[in-house]
Structures are given as structure tokens and as C-alpha cells.
Symmetry: C2
Subunit: 207 residues, 2 copies
């Protein structure tokens, strides 16, 4: 893999073929996404991989994004809408179990997480959780490109409808961004467009 080449290769596919994606590639994309960095490693979001055609049809109904129903896979990033003591306790218990240390050895870490999480409003925590999900989105895009799997990140979708259809509310989650996976249709005119980015000297200021 060459990261620069992978990033140049990818684009937001508008039209998908019906070619399926090897499960091993999907698994690898999901594994990479789950390895994404997040603030204090807390991963305050969950992923929903939708492959069921009927569900994709419902999710995509009335949307200008035909990719939702058309692409073989749809990955929904959903952030926690409320985080409190239980969220911190669960995370600390998980870290302790994974590192095979007592919870008491993480007292300082726990206190610092409580200092962040419990002093913010639900709205602030949801905004923070959403940003963490976007780091994971960045990882997922690169993981797909590395596998030469096409993808389309989409923000313009009806999150209320997604939350309803996927039963996210009862899990304390809200959909924040979605990503289609599959293979570009040979007629997708967007494939041939030159990728446009800011000139490096415009993007980066040296201090």
C-alpha cells in the first residue's frame, strides 16, 4: 500500500455496479475502522453495517443519494447522544479487563475522564462523540481505498429516519454520517474528474 496513491485513487462514487465485495475486504475495513484513534480511546460511537437490500431501500427512499440503496454495503456511524457515569465506568472496566489490571489501578485515568465527560452537557458530549466518529470515517475511507474498494461518504441523509429504522434511539445512539461501499459503475462520470485540492502552500502555513 502507498497511502498517497490510495488517497489519490479514491473519490466519492456516484453510481455503483452490482458487483459484491469480498467479505475479507469488508472485515479488514471494519477492523481498521475499529482501530481508529479517539479521545482517550473511548470510541463514543458504534457502527451499523447494512447489507439487507430491503433495509437499504427503505433508508434510501426519497434520498438524492442513490448510493444508499444501490451500493452493496452501507456503513452507518452513530454517536452516543448521552454519556454519564455508567459510560465512564463501563469503559474503565473494559480497559482494566483488557490490560489485566484492577480497576483501582486506573483511578487517576477514571477521574480525568469523569472530569471531561461529566462536566459537559449532553449536547457537548454528542458533538464530541460525532467528531470522534469522523476520525473513524477518515480511517474507513483509507481502509477501503487500500483494498481498492470504492466508497461514498454522505452527510446529506435523514438521520431521524435512519435512527428510527435502525432502532438507534433505544441504544442511545444517533446516526451522524454514512458511507457506502462497493465498486464503481463503469458509467460513473465522476471517476474521470481531476481530484481538486487546495494548493499545499494555501493549505499549510509554516510557523
Amino acid at each position: 500500500m502507498d497511502l498517497i496513491e490510495d488517497l489519490k485513487w479514491r473519490y466519492a462514487v456516484k453510481k455503483y455496479s452490482d458487483k459484491t465485495v469480498d467479505q475479507a475486504k469488508i472485515d479488514r475495513i471494519l477492523e481498521a475502522t475499529n482501530l481508529s484513534a479517539s479521545s482517550a480511546g473511548m470510541q463514543p460511537y458504534r457502527l451499523f453495517l447494512v447489507q439487507d437490500q430491503e433495509m437499504k431501500n427503505k433508508l434510501g427512499e426519497g434520498s438524492f443519494n442513490g448510493q444508499i440503496a444501490e451500493a452493496p454495503y452501507l456503513l452507518v456511524f452513530a454517536a452516543y447522544t448521552s454519556m454519564g457515569q455508567q459510560f465512564v465506568d463501563n469503559y474503565i472496566a473494559h480497559v482494566a479487563a483488557e490490560r489485566e489490571i484492577p480497576v483501582s489501578a486506573l483511578a487517576d485515568f477514571k477521574a480525568s475522564l469523569e472530569g471531561y465527560i461529566l462536566n459537559r452537557s449532553d449536547s457537548e458530549n454528542f458533538s464530541w462523540a460525532t467528531k470522534q466518529a469522523y476520525i473513524a470515517l477518515g480511517t474507513a475511507l483509507i481502509a477501503a481505498a487500500e483494498q481498492r474498494v470504492d466508497a461514498t461518504p454522505m452527510e446529506g441523509f435523514d438521520s431521524e429516519k435512519f435512527d428510527e429504522l435502525l432502532g438507534l434511539r433505544k441504544k442511545g445512539l444517533k446516526s451522524v454520517v454514512i458511507l457506502s461501499f462497493g465498486y464503481r459503475h463503469e458509467s460513473d462520470a465522476f471517476a474521470g474528474l481531476k481530484k481538486v485540492r487546495a494548493h499545499q502552500e494555501e493549505m499549510v502555513t509554516l510557523v
Copy 2:
């Protein structure tokens, strides 16, 4: 490069050595970051690479993040706080120039961008711009890991102070997240800790 291995290799370094990073590696990280996906390719953020020690000292003064002053490089991600007609016009002009087509050929694209940007409040656009910057943060973390350059993403910093010292306000920008680059100090105890992530079946629900 193997993306999964790179993601497993990285961690948020707490203590840096004074070893410098080859310019070619920094250039590559910046190039990758600038190639990041963003909504409609608009890249509503800018990057500031701080290498000046005096500036790093000022930025890090009083912070619990010693990495700000200690690491050889500090990358500041700053999002635009207000986006209007001029922002859209500039972007469309840039795309037209890069693709060597007349601006008029992008009329539909321009109208759709105006539909998004001009109908949102500054606060909504800033929140959107911040999320795009986080996609770029995800890319930068992977680009650094690919080069075996250590990095530390940080949200806990005084953005008002950063905006002031780096003169961001007059550019219409606000710092949203920062990232140190360098090499881990051999005494950094965090290097040896097991990376903890949610179990895959907890993170991903199949639908």
C-alpha cells in the same frame, strides 16, 4: 505499508525525545492530510505547522500537555468560522481552474453548494467545518504511523490562546484540534500499554 499494522503501532505519545523528523516525512504527512476527503471537496479548514520553539513554548505554557512544547512539530487544525458566498465562489473558481473548465460549467454544483452553505448559520457551518477537519486528523494520524513518526492528537488546549498567538481570527479561522509529531522518548511508559478497543462484535452491528 500495512494499514492494520500501522494503526496497531501508533499510540498517543506522552513524552517525546528531542530527535527531529526528516523533512521528507513531514512533507508526506502534510500531502496526505491535504488529500483527505471532505464534504464536496471543500476543505473548510487550514493547517498550521509550528516548528518555532519559542512559539511552541508559548502555546504550551500552562498546559497539561507537555507535548505541545516538547515535540519537534505541532500541527494545528483550524476551521473556518464563517462561510458565505465568497467562500463558495472561491472554491468554484478553484475547481474550474484546476479542471480547466469555465465556471459556468459548474453552475449546478455551485447551486448545490450554496444550498448547503448559505442556508446554515455560522455556528452550523463551523461545526460542519470542524468535522471535516477531523477526517483530516484521521488521515494525518495514519500518514504519520505509515512513516513510523509518532504523534499525539490533543483536544484539551486553549483554543482562544492558540487563535490569538497564531493570528487565526483575522484569517477567519479557529483552532479545533492539534497534533504533535516527533519520536517517542524511550522512557514513555505509555508505549508499552496494550491498545484497548471495543470488541468487534460490540462495535459493529450487522443489519
